[in-house]
């Protein structure tokens, strides 16, 4: 084999890669956090068929879940400026992530809300709680607990999918890898490294999310 492996390109550009990793993590964190909040509102609107809100969410979910992430990204980055909304690559990426995760988590969390036995809600009502108190104190935590593994999977999927944000110059991990590749032509080494970085990230993020689930959702003392 004539090819001489050299990881010199990685070593000399480690800062670019590290920055890319950091941006991927931040992008995922914002997307997940805001997305889950949107998802919770949407899930309750849909599960309880709140007037107007449930219809709005239905349209939103159908639009997002039946179109590719890359096209959504292009629409927001290249399309919206026509309406006077000009976002840079980073802002467009964050927005797309939030919109995307919001839609998927709505459906996941809705499944969680529906999984709560009706009897629990009735028990809360019989104790003179109103619907919002019942939601906040009785339904939400068990509902999130039931779907947390599915939600974590979705977050990891979207994190890996965020690599396409490199296409609109958001400087996340894949962007960094592409940049180094065009400067050094060390495609094998660079994409091997970025693959391994994604792999590590995914495993770590999953572990972190499990911890978050145990700490804030399960919150069990014994």
């Amino acid at each position: 084999m004539a090819y001489q492996f050299s990881f010199e390109a990685i070593a000399s550009n480690w800062e670019l890669l590290a920055r890319g990793v950091a941006l991927t993590v931040v992008l995922t964190a914002i997307g997940s956090f805001v997305g889950i909040i949107i998802g919770t509102v949407g899930a309750v609107s849909r599960a309880w068929t709140l007037p107007l809100l449930s219809q709005v969410f239905t349209v939103y979910i159908e639009c997002v879940r039946n179109t590719p992430f890359l096209v959504q990204l292009y629409f927001i980055f290249f399309g919206l400026p026509a309406l006077g909304v000009k976002l840079n690559g980073w802002e467009a990426s964050v927005l797309t992530m939030v919109i995307n995760l919001g839609a998927y988590s709505t459906e996941i969390i809705r499944a969680g809300v529906m999984s709560i036995p009706k009897g629990l809600l009735e028990a809360a009502e019989s104790l003179a709680m109103n619907r919002w108190q019942a939601l906040r104190y009785v339904v939400l935590r068990p509902a999130l607990k039931n779907v947390w593994p599915a939600l974590c999977s979705q977050i990891v999927i979207v994190m890996l999918g965020s690599s396409v944000c490199s296409q609109i110059a958001a400087q996340e991990l894949t962007y960094a890898a592409n940049l180094i590749q065009t400067q050094t032509f060390r495609a094998f080494e660079i994409y091997l490294t970025s693959t391994l970085l994604y792999l590590m990230l995914a495993v770590l993020v999953r572990k972190c999310l499990n911890q978050i689930g145990m700490r804030f959702i399960e919150r069990r003392k014994a």
Partner: protein
């Protein structure tokens, strides 16, 4: 004094009329046992009294206030009327103590110290003070149901509705729950219970209501009804369950 007064109560689910003019009243401190075959409308009646079901025609008066069916009136109604369910319905993510504390805390906005004390007192009353920090899945069915009773009592209701509260329990766990209910009755709590425990209805109840096809078919002192049923329906029901 009449605490609850139900007059010509009607309730339909779609085309199916399940309550066809139910009338009865309950005095303060009275223990009423409702019996009858499944489908006779017993549970629906209880659920109407707690506002979990709306109703059609008829008048329901509880503690001098007419039950309107308006959403805004539900909370005041439920503050007076506690309920215990067949399936316990404990909040699975909360400990026994937290289950009891939740409603006083968020509905009545009582202080943390006060509700903790209150929960301890209520759990003591059902004999489960040592289970304060246990989660529902660490408790037996009988213990869960006793926590559910404590949870309802913590809101200091004027009347407690019990909807077949021992039907989901293993036979050997029934007595511990019935003992708690019996103590409540002795303490003067007003109770309305739908039950299949005939012996219990006979011993603890002040009044027995036999429901049949959506109506109060017979009503009176339990001993009297069990030994001298006036209608063939009650006679055959008594025969089938004893």
């Amino acid at each position: 004094m009449q605490l609850i007064c139900v007059d010509e109560l009607h309730k339909s689910f779609g085309d199916l009329e399940v309550l066809k003019g139910v009338s009865f009243s309950v005095k303060e401190g009275e223990v009423v046992a409702i019996i009858g075959r499944s489908g006779s409308g017993k549970s629906t009646l209880l659920r109407v009294l707690n506002g979990l079901e709306s109703f059609g025609d008829g008048i329901v008066n509880i503690d001098g206030k007419r039950v309107s069916g308006l959403k805004a009136d539900l909370i005041p109604l439920r503050l007076k009327v506690g309920m215990v369910f067949q399936q316990f319905n404990l909040f699975p993510h909360l400990t026994a103590g937290e289950n009891v504390m939740l409603a006083p805390k968020v509905v009545k906005k009582e202080s943390r110290e006060h509700v903790t004390e209150l929960a301890m007192e209520m759990l003591e009353r059902v004999g489960l003070a040592d289970k304060f920090n246990a989660y529902p899945d660490q408790l037996s069915g009988g213990q869960q149901q006793r926590v559910a009773i404590a949870r309802a009592l913590a809101m200091r209701p004027k009347v407690l509705l019990c909807d077949e509260i021992t039907s989901a329990l293993d036979p050997e766990l029934v007595d511990e729950v019935l003992e708690v209910v019996q103590r409540l009755a002795a303490d003067g709590m007003t109770l309305i219970m739908v039950t299949h425990e005939m012996r219990f209805a006979r011993e603890v109840g002040d009044t027995l209501i036999f429901m049949h096809q959506g109506k109060v078919h017979e009503m009176g002192a339990p001993e009297e009804l069990f030994t001298r049923p006036q209608t063939p329906e009650l006679a055959s029901f008594v025969k089938s369950v004893l």
